[in-house]
Amino acid sequence: MSTPETASATAFAPAPGPALVEAAGLRRAFRMPKGQDPVVAANDVSFRIAAGEVLGLVGESGSGKSTIARMLVGLERADAGSLRIAGADRFAPARGRAARLARARQAQMVFQDPYGSLDRRLSVQQALVAAMRLHGLADREGARRRAGELLDRVRLTVEQGALRPHQLSGGQRQRVAIARALAVSPTLLVLDEAVSALDVSVQAQILELVDEIRRDEGIAVLFVSHDLAVVDEIADRVLVLYRGDVVEEGAASAVFRAPEHPYTRLLVSSVPGPGWDPHEVIARRREFDAAR
């Protein structure tokens, strides 16, 4: 399950001290068409992420993972709760360009879809330069130089920097998306199913890259995935989400090897492996839902 390159992930101990990200009591309900009850995507979600720490967020489809992820980067509002990144209140009204850009530098995101999340009109280099220019981080020349460094950081060549998204593979595109996120030097990096569309060997490369970045850059990472094996590899701590509620939280090794909550146990035992029986998984799931 774990490879030698990422063995350091579980050995890495987050720096003690104040958390970079502090979320408390996050709640979000989506109104449904008339007559139906609202869907509670996040009920009462609290967590902290330290500098250089990777927090994994797992749960089945529809458990509210993306809602939480999008809240952290300001794409989704919260009905209740508080969110602080590097001490700044994310939910306080922010008017004006400077405030908006400052917020963007607090949290960046890598999306699931490597094909749709890049602007198809811009080359890799242009996309990176545009991000830095938007934030006034460098003049044109400086931005170009730093784009070269970023390409190097995510292991893309200068030649690949001249290409447009349709000329790149899925894995290469996710590297571009990571470089674009890093271009504004964020405090927090949110990855929502960022490796789910990639094949296993490419997944491993991207995971290694994320591990390296959090270590070198000391940024906080929220890693969202429904793939427990992947989260086990990359995350220090894990949050298990079930229908908008955190049902278990702890060190990744503990949660996956000795799950305490029945739902976590169900999740862990449902992972396909030798002797895996889909009927049994479905039956157990039904039993679990009935008991709730």
Partner: protein, 284 residues
């Protein structure tokens, strides 16, 4: 085996791309028309409004290549100079309608809300209401003339363009790269105008080219009806109307020549527009 098969396929695809004679001919023809419009005063042998009562309804001759009209004016010169007004009118109408329509369509797609509702109502009314009637109403209020016709048609086309823009903007805005720009901290205006709009232009362009042809037809029709260009202009629609008196006398050229010019340009524009949509759409 597989490589040669693929090679043949690629080659055939390449050939198909290059061999599109209809598109090439249409494009070349339109290029020629634009050149004629640019250099018309140099190319025309006579001033377009030079009346010669000794040469009324003249047949084609070395002195008058296409003959003369009811006032003895040289048809060939009038045709060449008419290119200008016949092209600039639809161009201006399209430019105006595009600026208004694209802006409204983008705002409607981005914001939804009252702009979206208002646009839906306006387009509903426009589609239910005969376009020509609307234009005639505007002209009745503001007086007839070439620019009133252009403005009236621009107002009629703007909601149509807005509706089309809205539909492609909606699918474009659903793409995750738009969220990525939001997360990056870009303003709504920056994302819509600088990022999303350029990605929409391939889809918009072919549509606008076809609309240009439609606009040319509509303006010529208005001039023919007496609501657009006014004498002594040699706008093609007006030329058709003025030449009509010759038909009963057996002089067909004064009507036929500008009529064919309108038809040829509209057909060429349509071919180019449709092909552009196909090509750019396939690439996007």
């Amino acid at each position: 085996m597989t490589t040669t098969a693929t090679g043949a396929l690629l080659r055939r695809d390449g050939l198909a791309r290059r061999r599109d004679p209809l598109y090439a001919v249409s494009l070349a023809f339109l290029g020629l028309v634009v050149l004629v419009a640019a250099f018309a005063p140099l190319l025309a042998p006579y001033p377009p409004d030079a009346i010669d009562f000794t040469a009324i309804w003249g047949s084609p001759s070395p002195a008058h290549l296409l003959g003369t009209d009811q006032l003895g004016r040289d048809l060939f010169s009038r045709l060449l100079l008419g290119t200008r007004e016949s092209l600039i009118g639809p161009l201006a109408l399209l430019a105006g309608a595009t600026v208004i329509g694209v802006a409204i369509g983008l705002v409607a797609a981005w914001n939804g809300g009252w702009v979206d509702v208002l646009l839906a109502r306006i387009t509903d009314v426009m589609f239910a209401f005969p376009g020509l009637l609307f234009v005639v109403l505007v002209i009745a209020v503001f007086g007839k003339g070439p620019w009133t016709a252009v403005v009236a048609l621009a107002l009629a086309y703007a909601p149509v363009i807005a509706k089309f823009t809205r539909s492609i903007a909606l699918s474009e805005l659903a793409r995750p790269y738009v969220d990525a720009y939001r997360v990056q901290g870009a303003s709504a205006v920056h994302i819509a105008v600088r990022r999303v709009l350029p990605n929409m232009t391939p889809a918009l362009l072919g549509y606008l080219v076809v609309l240009f042809g439609e606009g040319l037809m509509s303006l010529a029709t208005l001039s023919y009806l007496g609501f657009g260009a006014q004498p002594p202009s040699s706008e093609w629609g007006l030329m058709v109307q003025e030449g009509q008196d010759g038909i009963v006398l057996g002089h067909f050229a004064p009507t036929l020549v500008p009529g064919l010019a309108i038809a040829a340009v509209v057909v060429a524009v349509n071919i180019v527009g449709v092909r552009l949509s196909e090509r750019l759409g396939a690439r996007a």
